[in-house]
């Protein structure tokens, strides 16, 4: 992340220095104001979702959900910790329902639970990022809503192609991460010999 940010910032600042130096600072402050507005909005959204999630958790539903998804999560993430499994199960379920805003707090907590304080992302953490990135969602509610308000005759006809793509890329992501991890272990094994 450090290197991505550095390249993005330095390249744009160098170009701006030539094209429009006076815009640099005001753009940065403008963007951070936007971020603050987004965070205020997110705070309101999180109050609702974290409230509901606490209910799901306290009523024991999250444990049931985790138990249901457990074999799958164990196989994909190779974790063996009930609390972590529960957080991952909630994160994935929220993504499937198309409520990314409810998935974020659970994703953050799952990452904290997976953290081994080693400064390097471990296998399960990478898997969680990749699965979130391929956005395994059953109903793209926001997109359908936008399409309906733009006057589409059949706003829901994108559901099937979206589903096919997200399932394909999710499976591909899982296989890729597993493959890379195997390769890394092999290389490590060779180095030791």
């Amino acid at each position: 992340m450090n290197i991505f940010w550095l390249i993005m910032m330095l390249a744009s600042m160098l170009v701006l220095l030539i094209v429009n130096p006076s815009a640099m600072l005001s753009e940065m402050i403008g963007a951070s104001t936007e971020a603050l507005e987004l965070c205020i909005e997110l705070c309101a959204v999180y109050v609702v979702w974290l409230g509901f999630i606490e209910l799901i958790d306290a009523s024991g539903l999250s444990n049931k959900l985790a138990k249901l998804l457990r074999p799958l999560i164990k196989k994909i993430f190779k974790v063996d910790n009930e609390e972590t499994e529960k957080l991952i199960a909630l994160n994935i379920s929220a993504n499937m329902l198309g409520v990314g805003n409810a998935a974020t707090p659970m994703g953050i907590r799952a990452m904290q639970a997976l953290d081994d304080k080693s400064e390097k992302a471990n296998f399960a953490m990478i898997m969680l990022v990749v699965i979130n990135a391929t956005s395994i969602q059953l109903l793209p509610t926001t997109v359908i809503g936008l399409r309906a308000s733009a006057g589409s005759a059949n706003p829901a006809d994108i559901i099937l192609p979206t589903l096919i793509v997200t399932v394909t890329t999710t499976i591909m992501g899982i296989l890729l991460v597993h493959g890379i991890e195997k390769l890394r272990k092999k290389i490590k094994g060779r180095k030791k010999q």
Binding site: A35, Y46, G51, I108, I126, P140, I158
Partner: protein
């Protein structure tokens, strides 16, 4: 139809809580308490990435990249009108949704380009934003291959989305 799913789930949750004799108000408040702390913790990370994206756009680098990448995208079957959307999608959710609305208005909601844009948006995520925010509360400094793999899946998804929209 899809408008009913979440409301029904919420009501079922409350009924289940009553059945479990759970104090709904106390527990809801307990969970909601975490919201402000969470937002305060992730704000600097969100702001930093939004600053970088804003500078990329105002410096003209994004439109320059859009021009360079358009022919490549076209060759892969992705309409060149969608290059900017595909380019910005990994960085900004609000920005790419604004672009999607533009596309829907400009080309009509049922055009091939709009349908491609919708499927692309539905099956992708703001990868850099997710990675920053998810890792923000851990000690992790090196993400290893997380972002490259996520980006590869996203590109394959984009190409597949445009292909499927042509035949479906």
């Amino acid at each position: 139809m899809s408008a009913y799913i979440l409301p029904i789930l919420f009501i079922l949750l409350f009924i289940y809580c009553i059945y479990k004799r759970l104090n709904t108000y106390d527990n809801f408040v307990k969970g909601a308490k975490g919201a402000i702390k969470l937002v305060v913790d992730i704000f600097p990370f969100i702001a930093s990435i939004m600053i970088a994206v804003a500078l990329l756009r105002v410096s003209g680098i994004t439109s320059w990249l859009t021009q360079i990448l358009s022919p490549i995208f076209n060759a892969l079957g992705v309409p060149s009108e969608l290059t900017e959307l595909v380019l910005l999608r990994p960085f900004t959710g609000s920005g790419s949704y604004a672009l999607l609305e533009d596309v829907l208005v400009t080309y009509g909601a049922d055009s091939y380009i709009s349908r491609c844009a919708c499927v692309i948006m539905g099956c992708s995520e703001t990868i850099f934003y997710v990675a920053t925010v998810y890792f923000s509360q851990t000690k992790v400094k090196k993400l290893l291959y997380a972002i490259p793999v996520a980006l590869i899946c996203s590109i394959v998804g984009t190409i597949l989305a445009c292909l499927l929209c042509r035949i479906m």
